[in-house]
Symmetry: C2
């Protein structure tokens, strides 16, 4: 990156510090909940015996079958030096080697946001919520389904910034298909950095784009800060089964070397990219994560990394991936147990669904997955809102519908208060048989925070609802999204930093001809 671009950020430390103070002064700051700290147990689906079988089998897979590191001679050299059996591109890991290497990965880490109030702690009992990632299409009630553009992208980032229960701005919230493939990441990062003050993800579609991401963070946060802190969490998909391609591994190498976090995540449609059984799929997931995380630690011991599992089922009639199914939940629960036994943060879940519309199918499937993710101990939930049509579509309405439901996860995770006030024995005595509690002292003192309340869903009497147009959830969501976007204000950002970021993007774009691969 150019030295000139760094001038903007240099000398004033964290860009977000001043921004936060200014936000407090102007009152423009949008309320965002702190990441979830679970005060409830995890749901432990699998027995200890089952977990041990899977762990033993995963070691056998690594030792006997091995994994492929494709088009990546340097990776093969690293594996050879670490004690693996390398033949061609196949890497076989002696029993215990991968797990031993994984031991240096931290159990939790802080991802910094430019507004330090929005830093997130990933791991432990925490749950960080991030929006949908990857759809080439967008859909809304007004415009229907169409290819996504950079303006759509910015709209989702603004909605994310306005969403109280969303802790993270995400990454490719939709693919800006009107920007050249080799330049999209610059515009996407610029949007996250300027339109939101929540943490975000870096580009992984080319190692050079990962380097661009790090450089833009150096402009935003300052070079010294980035050298010492994790400011991005990026998504490294494994090419399941058991294959690590050069593009994704190249991006991982850049990020791990820079101490930036990666989600090492098998991407599995069960029955196609993994065996058609829960136990077999979990075995493969564990083997893949063990190999991927171990590799990250070969790059830089201690680099922050997340045990990822994007696993869903398949409709054997049509071959379509299916979401919100019982098998997908079982795999999520099992993978969470395996991740906790490794002492790693866990990524899974999301508002996943196969429906084409933000209708009942979308909501059943989404709720099934959100509930499993909460109880399954997920620490980082990508796709928490906005996902539609198997991830092909980012939906404006579903974004705000799901984001509203995320509030319920916060309340559920807080657990049950058992102090004297919560026991409410005075209220029971005050009201007695046949009375009612609406007016009693305990209710008056506690009702405002007692129950989670949706900001979007309809709680009105039938007659009122009918007079107001008998709107369904998607219609309410469309109106709600418009209201949020109308109220949106960009979070304060130092003008010098903004100019430096824009200059960086302009320079990098000028350095490359457009490419659409």
């Amino acid at each position: 990156m150019g030295e000139a671009e760094l001038q903007g950020a240099r000398g004033r430390g964290r860009a977000g510090g001043g921004a936060a103070r200014r936000a407090a002064r102007t009152g423009l700051s949008v309320e965002t909940a702190r990441f979830i700290e679970r005060n409830i147990p995890d749901f432990e689906l699998l027995t200890l015996e089952a977990l041990e079988i899977i762990e033993t089998n995963a070691e056998r897979v690594l030792e006997e079958i091995g994994v492929s590191f494709v088009d990546n001679p340097a990776a093969l050299d690293r594996w050879r030096a670490a004690g693996a059996d390398v033949q061609g591109e196949r890497v076989r890991l002696p029993r215990g080697l991968a797990r031993h290497l994984c031991a240096t990965a931290p159990a939790r880490f802080t991802q910094h946001a430019r507004n330090p109030e929005r830093n997130v702690e990933i791991g432990g009992r925490n749950l960080v919520l991030a929006p949908v990632y990857g759809p080439p299409f967008v859909r809304d009630l007004d415009g229907g389904r169409r290819y996504a553009t950079i303006e759509d992208f910015r709209r989702f980032v603004r909605l994310g910034q306005m969403s109280k229960w969303l802790h993270h701005s995400g990454g490719t919230v939709c693919e800006p298909t009107d920007v050249a493939v080799n330049k999209r990441h610059l515009d996407m990062l610029l949007a996250h950095m300027t339109l939101s003050d929540k943490p975000f993800m870096g580009s992984v579609t080319e190692p050079s784009r990962a380097r661009d991401s790090v450089e833009m963070c150096e402009v935003l946060f300052g070079r010294d800060f980035v050298a010492e802190n994790t400011v991005m969490t990026s998504l490294i998909n494994i090419n399941s089964p058991l294959t690590f391609d050069a593009t994704m591994m190249g991006a991982l190498e850049v990020y791990a070397a820079a101490n930036q976090a990666c989600i090492v995540s098998p991407f599995i449609v069960g029955g196609a990219m993994a065996p058609v059984s829960v136990a077999g799929t979990l075995t493969q997931v564990l083997a893949e994560v063990l190999a991927g995380v171990a590799y990250s630690q070969l790059i830089r011991p201690g680099a922050p990394v997340i045990f990822g599992a994007f696993v869903t089922s398949i409709d054997m009639n049509s071959g379509a991936p299916t979401f919100g199914t019982p098998e997908a939940s079982q795999i999520l629960f099992g993978a969470g147990q395996l991740a906790r036994r490794m002492g790693l943060p866990f990524r899974s879940g999301g508002g996943l669904c196969g429906s084409k519309l933000p209708d009942a199918q979308a909501a059943y499937e989404t709720a099934n997955t959100l509930n499993a993710a909460l109880l399954g101990g997920v620490n980082f939930m990508l796709h928490a809102c906005g996902w539609l049509e198997g991830g092909l579509v980012a939906s404006i309405e579903k974004f705000v519908m799901d984001a509203d439901q995320l509030g319920a996860l916060h309340k559920m995770a807080a657990g049950v208060a058992m102090d004297q006030e919560a026991q409410a024995m005075d209220a029971l005595a005050e009201v007695g048989p046949g009375g009612h509690f609406l007016g009693c002292a305990h209710t008056q003192a506690n009702f405002q925070r007692a129950f989670w309340r949706s900001e979007l869903l309809d709680y009105k009497p039938f007659e009122t609802w009918d007079e107001e147009g008998a709107r369904d959830t998607a219609t309410l969501a469309s109106e709600w999204a418009k209201r949020l976007l109308a109220q949106y204000q960009p979070p304060p950002l130092d003008e010098g930093v903004r100019e430096a970021l824009e200059a960086h993007v302009a320079r990098r774009k000028a350095e490359m001809p457009d490419a659409f691969v």
Copy 2:
């Protein structure tokens, strides 16, 4: 009941035995899944310490505040004789008395259906699913929202009979408002007995109607069979807080004396009928169930009974009950733990929602509750399908949408197979890195039962779905319900039994003038 009416059933034992054999011969039998036997753990939300606090507090409520048995001098006599402190209609129970009396209630029991293949075992690790109960309105896509009629009632019973994942025909699946209040129960029971061969519920709106229910069962099953077996599970709501009215207790007295099962169920909108806290509400629920179950055992020690908890939250802005909320789930989880510690079957959950339409709101809220009910150890789930608008409306479309989702509960509850075939190590070796599993031997051998598949939801590619009319879930459900009703065949029933039931209903109707209270 008239002796003549008994002739039809007498002498051939169980009416269902012959019917089942005939169904097998003609191939008309509709496939129905066996009740769920959970092979997964329960989610234990509350700590042991929290449970003990609630139990101690519930005993204090019973001892210090007490419960009211209204307009029921015989009940007060029974309580006095059992050692309670009775002043006016207030009954205070010395610490430990209620729990001691509850000890004779069975941990599980069989409810018999006229087709013995459809008997259900209520309690233990089982989950029995029954449809919506109580709505005065119906809604469907064609006719909108309107008062329910007996023809609507029959339509729901037929849909229930055709629903593979529904184990129980239920009770008042909607209120047949075109039939006199004092005669409805006769038509409703006749519909359950003749249009379905699944187990059902009896009337509770008057003690005399409970007696009618027992008598009609004697016609259907034979008097001796009913004397020795439980053939109904009926819903006894407690008038929360802490009040047991004469109507419901009168029905309970009839059923318990006849060894028929009752669900003893607080009906609570939190903040109105109970304290505005989870811990306080659970304390009240436990106190009410302890008193109600204890009373059932005063009527007949050993009478089958279920620990019920219909508890939801309130929107403090509008006073409307809200469903699928985190607090409702927390109460469900806690109540399940309390029920298991009492060794009683547990009723809660359902496809509960507040939405006016079978849209995304309905599905989010429903899925939140269904998931909590499965993991919370519910044994009997009323309202499992068809519930809309806070229970004011029975929806044709939501009935089949929810009923389809119940299939996912079956698969989730089955747990994870860990045998050699499920471990799939051969498949992993056969396919190896970079391959795919669709054609491998393990997939071919297992794919048909590997993944749960909705019969209703859309899994088609976007283009196909679009060409076929871009239907949303409610539209698909409307078509699916029509197909089920078109395919419906009444389950075989001995003609003599049918005639005896019809004669009984005709005679009882003739004995009373119509009444609409």
